[in-house]
């Protein structure tokens, strides 16, 4: 689960990391009030940032500076009116505009290949790390934290010297790097990224003296969904805009569902087989309307719920049911399909392929109920695509 920048910053702060103060505003008026306070504290400018869970906020006009309360209100109004990559902006973060001397990248990720938490640092901060990795991979320094001991001081120092952050900021860098790993462990995150980690100049308020400080200017955290049950408080950070409403409804029912753009609804047991079913629909010349895994051992009520989810999408013109019975019993699924069809409001052609446990009984039930069936997955995909084409648009 991805969480918004402001929430990620709260988690970093709770772990003792240096994050400059910020406010979150849902209206232009609130943004104005926040800007007024920040400017009164002796700051010259504020930054207003869209809080949406997609990359490229800056390019989309979702990050802007303002030098007065009036300007902050106008900028916030403009950003709150944006839709970035299909996601409406509902909140903005308002913070003092940092006087940045130097930007770095620092991130902790769950590295699947090495099965370690890997901490990465680069002197090329403020740009996408994927881009740095592609263009100048040698600019990224990496160390792997020990699964039991965590990130050690010497490892953090190695990163610091690697990116030229020795000297006065060494101690702070080590503490921040360890803090990232601590944050990851505390909340079961897959990713904790600070980009940029920046040296900022701060005045003492009178303008007489400036000091330099290493701070986390942005924050990105992705949480491990499997660990959410033991962090119930983090569920509140879920951004409803980041997922399709149908996906959320499915999650509540224990069905893995992802809404897509095509016209062939898919109902499958097992994630790998569900992806394969989508792929074969595409290969047969169709477009899948969704990914749907009813899970192992699904009973008829779950089948009915899955059918409702699929039919709720008006673009669906045919449905492909593909069940390889193992724990899941084919006859249970067949009964669920028959019951669901009896009460469904919209009649859509359906092709059903059930093999494995109790497939014979399933076949008998489906034939009696005059369902279109298929023996192989390839055949089922071809029939579903043909059926959707016959319905037309």
């Amino acid at each position: 689960m991805k969480i918004q920048e402001a929430d990620a910053k709260s988690l970093l702060l709770a772990q003792g990391l240096p994050v400059p103060a910020w406010d979150v505003a849902r209206t232009a008026a609130d943004a104005r009030a926040a800007a007024t306070r920040i400017l009164a504290d002796g700051n010259d400018k504020v930054v207003v940032k869209a809080q949406v869970l997609v990359g490229g906020r800056g390019k989309a006009g979702g990050v802007r500076l303002a030098g007065s309360a009036d300007e902050a209100e106008a900028v916030a109004a403009a950003i709150l009116a944006l839709t970035i990559k299909g996601i409406p902006v509902r909140k903005v973060l308002v913070a003092p505009a940092a006087d940045i001397a130097r930007e770095y990248y620092l991130g902790a990720i769950l590295d699947r290949a090495s099965r370690r938490i890997v901490v990465m640092a680069s002197a090329e901060g403020g740009v996408e790390i994927e881009e740095v990795a592609r263009v100048r991979p040698e600019a990224i320094h990496r160390v792997a934290a020990h699964p039991h001991l965590g990130l050690l001081d010497w490892q953090a120092r190695q990163l610091a010297f690697g990116i030229g952050l020795g000297g006065p900021f060494l101690r702070d860098f080590v503490s921040i790097a360890r803090g990232l790993v601590a944050t990851m462990v505390a909340y079961d995150a897959d990713l904790v990224e600070v980009n940029p980690l920046a040296i900022v100049r701060e005045s003492d308020g009178t303008g007489a003296a400036t000091t330099e400080r290493l701070v986390c200017l942005d924050a990105k955290i992705t949480l491990d969904d499997s660990a959410l049950p033991r962090h119930p408080e983090l569920e509140a950070l879920r951004d409803p805009d980041s997922e399709d409403p149908a996906d959320a409804e499915a999650r509540a029912m224990g069905i893995a569902f992802i809404h897509l753009d095509g016209s062939i609804g898919c109902m499958v047991n097992g994630a790998g087989l569900a992806m394969t079913t989508m792929d074969l629909v595409k290969r047969a010349g169709g477009e899948p309307a969704n990914f749907l895994d009813i899970g192992g051992g699904a009973r008829s009520d779950k089948v009915a719920a899955a059918m409702r989810l699929i039919l709720a999408d008006p673009k669906v013109r045919a449905i492909l049911v593909n069940i390889f019975g193992g724990i899941t019993r084919g006859d249970e699924v067949a009964r669920g399909l028959i019951e669901a069809r009896a009460v469904q409001e919209r009649d859509v052609p359906m092709v059903v392929r059930i093999v494995g446990t109790n497939a014979e009984e399933a076949g008998r039930l489906l034939t009696e109920a005059r369902f279109e069936t298929a023996a192989s997955l390839d055949e089922a995909a071809a029939k579903a695509v043909a059926a959707a084409a016959a319905v037309g648009s």
Binding site: R112, P229, G272, L273, M275, T276, L377
Partner: protein
């Protein structure tokens, strides 16, 4: 020989008295797997599966009493890491963790302990392994198999059944079928299983079934290019139509930052000389074209 499970397997089932544990233990016993013990804390002294399997309080007791050398775990996610560590502590050499939904950071620690102990963990979130005609451990339906010489390794569950059924229907039997699990952090990787197959004198051809996310297929392909020359191989990758940034059911099946795509994996496999099927039904033909005469 077959790999991971076989005639030498003496299985202890952790979580044997739970709904899943009991159901699948029955299937394993009926398949002929030597299930010698079960473990559920506080149920020691009872029996499971109509009195056929003795239940112990701890894995250590089960090992002492029965000589169990392999474990299969059906314990719920909250207790699964501890169950793996208990098996390691009792000296079990091969541990299958079927449980889904185990937090990844727990697995990092567990995998390290398993590695230090010299044990092997398969999973979590895996369907187990079957050596047809000998033993099956986990939840793979026994009926789909046929004895033979093709090794199958997969990240998936029902997709594995689909592929295995296609092979069985085409007359291609299997030496061992292994599901390594769909999570980001797993104990045994594609590469580990390829190495085992490479040393197994009964495995003469290999099928690899991957999916989007991570780079384990690419690593396996690179190794196969150098070490499995002359071994007929075929592959299938699920998720060609999967969108970026969405977790496709399995915790590990996600394209992030443009990496882990099906296209990347297919390119890596093809570059290693491994043909990738467009549908699981094509796998037998590809193996035969690659020179497999089994």
């Amino acid at each position: 020989m077959s790999i991971l499970v076989g005639r030498e397997t003496r299985l202890v089932v952790q979580g044997i008295t739970g709904r899943e544990g009991e159901f699948h233990t029955r299937q394993m016993v009926e398949y002929g797997t030597p299930v010698v013990a079960g473990v559920t804390p506080n149920k020691g002294g009872q029996t499971a599966v109509d009195g056929r399997v003795p239940v112990f309080d701890t894995v250590a007791e089960a090992v002492a009493a029965t000589g169990a050398n392999t474990s299969c775990i059906y314990v719920p996610a909250a207790g699964a890491p501890d169950a793996v560590l208990e098996a390691v502590g009792a000296g079990i050499g091969t541990i299958f963790c079927i449980t889904e939904g185990v937090p990844a950071l727990d697995m990092l620690k567990v995998v390290e302990v398993v590695r230090e102990a010299g044990a092997r963990l398969i999973g979590p979130n895996c369907p187990g392994a079957t050596s047809p005609g000998r033993a099956k451990v986990g939840i793979i339906p026994g009926s789909i198999h046929r004895e033979g010489r093709v090794g199958v390794v997969s990240r998936s569950g029902t997709l594995t059944y689909e592929a295995v059924q296609a092979m069985t229907d085409a007359g291609l039997g299997q030496s061992t079928c292994v599901g390594i699990g769909g999570d980001p952090i797993i104990g045994t990787t594609f590469l580990d299983v390829l190495k085992l197959f490479a040393e197994d004198d009964e495995t003469e051809a290999i099928v690899l079934i991957g999916e989007i996310g991570g780079s384990a297929e690419e690593e396996a392909a690179a190794w196969a290019a150098d070490h499995l020359n002359g071994v007929p191989m075929a592959a299938f990758i699920a998720g060609r139509t999967a969108p970026e940034g969405k977790r496709m059911g399995h915790a590990g099946a996600i394209i992030s930052g443009g990496s882990g795509t099906a296209a990347d994996k297919i390119a890596a496999l093809e570059a290693a000389g491994i043909r990738v099927a467009d549908s699981p039904t094509e796998l037998p033909t590809i193996l035969r074209t690659a020179g497999f005469r089994g």
